[in-house]
Amino acid sequence: MTTLQTVFAKAKADNRAALVGYLPAGFPSKDGAIAAAAALVEAGCDVIEIGLPYSDPLMDGPTIQDAVHRSLSNGTRIADVMRTVEGVAATGAATLVMTYWNPVDRYGAERFARDLANAGGVGTITPDLTPEESEPWRAASASAGIDTVFLVAPSSTEARIKAVVDCCTGFVYAASLMGVTGARETVNVAAEGLVKRTREHTGLPVCVGLGVGTGAQAAEVATYADGVIVGSAFIRRLLDAPDEAAGRESVAALARDMAQGVRRS
């Protein structure tokens, strides 16, 4: 199993940023999600986030909403998410689950952490779990030996950044903009400042997500961040592809472009 610590140490040694790809489990199909993620890894993604599809994704934009809706319509369950993690972890990428809190809460925090660790997962990203409510999850994760990643945002005060990074292990997720997930024309200028502010409170790697959709944007973000997170741009290609094989080729091409981007700086 490749850990986040190994990934970021290696990227640092190579003098580059890590590339983090996001795909929801069960999309475009249960096996198709594993195959697409494997294609991302082969094309140069160091870390894969597997999204746990949830009925009320209130921080996601239209692209991820669409994919998640299709995944749930495909009957995706948490067991499928775990199988996806297992399949992706086998490719050698460090594999996390990104999930809203309620499915974990309902499944049981300790059970979820244990099952994820057993599937080869290295941690979670929980975008709607605030530091104030995170104690039970951090305890469960620590005892299962998985990392906990939380988000900071451009609106975060210094006190909030400190509170969030104190809950993080593995890395810190810096949301580049005030808004929902989705590729944008430009990466928000606030992102660089946020990364700088975050570094004042932690030695953990800081990865930037939200709005990154091209190799050039990845290269730009890689100049100041330890990792570049890409989700909607990959999903857009899967949604637009005529079939799963074409979708895989399309996301692999974009991932190669991104992988070059994070090595350009």
């Binding site: 949830y54 009320d56 994704p57 909403q65 309620n102 499915p103 605030t130 104030e132 409510e133 929902v180």
Partner: protein
Amino acid sequence: MANEGSILTAADLAGNGVRGDDPDVHGKFGIFGGRYVPEALIPALDEVAAVYEKAKHDAEFIREFDHLLRTYAGRPTTLTDVPRFSEQAGGARIVLKREDLTHTGAHKINNVLGQALLTKRLGKKRVIAETGAGQHGVATATAAALLGLECVIYMGAVDCERQALNVARMKLLGATVVPVTNGSQTLKDAINEAFRDWVTNVDSTHYLFGTVAGPHPFPEIVRDFARVIGVEARRQILELTGRLPDAVCAAVGGGSNAIGVFHAFIDDQDVRLHGYEAAGHGLESGEHALTLTAGSVGVLHGSRTYVLQDDEGQTIESHSISAGLDYPGVGPEHAWLKDSGRATYRGVTDDEAMAAFSLLARTEGIIPAIESSHALAGALELGRELGPEAIILVNLSGRGDKDMGTAMKYFNL
């Protein structure tokens, strides 16, 4: 009560320590409430909480709110005895609190006026809101027009079609109505979309949340602005009957009208508090909105509470003939009142609610909202349980004009 003089004092608005039931610093009512939202929204929620904390102790803010409640919303609303209706309740004396007589026709006006004033104090010029049936949307558009705020309302596309008249009202009031086409295209998806707008435009925008759910501090703020219902009613029923009622009844969707009328009675231990949820086609049908009576504890729309969810935490779509009760979550304070045993929650089916709707119209000449008809149906049953000496206060949360389309279909009018 005369129409001069204030309705509210600072203690009426916020309780000011006379109650032991304010949420803690993290917005927790026992294990319920809190904040489960993207970090990006935390500063905005903190700002709303801080500005509200200051406003509720500010005599000038209370004066402004009180002035609008009296001169714009039409408060205080009266109590009405309904003896012919009460005959069907085993002779128990049912008394209605007439929120249907407020401007815009429902209790929602209380909360929106308070929050619109708060928006001004926040220095924001734009409000957004979610709406199911359109009542909160209309109320928000009304307050925005009154105070000169830009207004955008998110409404499920399915609901836009079902409630075309309210869409037209909102537009006439100057609001932009955005149909939400994702998910189930109803209230819960409209809330998701409003949160997405808020996180994007939080510098300029206040999310004028419509019920006592959502992340802290919304459950507390919306309750405090709705609290005037019970404050008035408690005073009025003492004047009218010489004693406190045996029970207070209200319909519960998100729960704002119910909290509004319950709250002033919470310390009156002999007064039963009864909330009525929409049982839709009945529990067994699976088509209902029985969040408190048949749901389980989870997190929805930023708050820990009872939720209609499957075994893996996916939200289950609710059903009710009343759009205002058609919501798979509920305010965290109700969850807490349920678990502490202070309030009791029961289900009322579509058919039972429509029977009460029709009965009140025929016996008293009052056409209630279908939401409120759930509380009326509950009161009929409760009256038969408590006996002819009982006094039951029912919050008639809104009028039924908006429901005529549904009534025409249901009764073949």
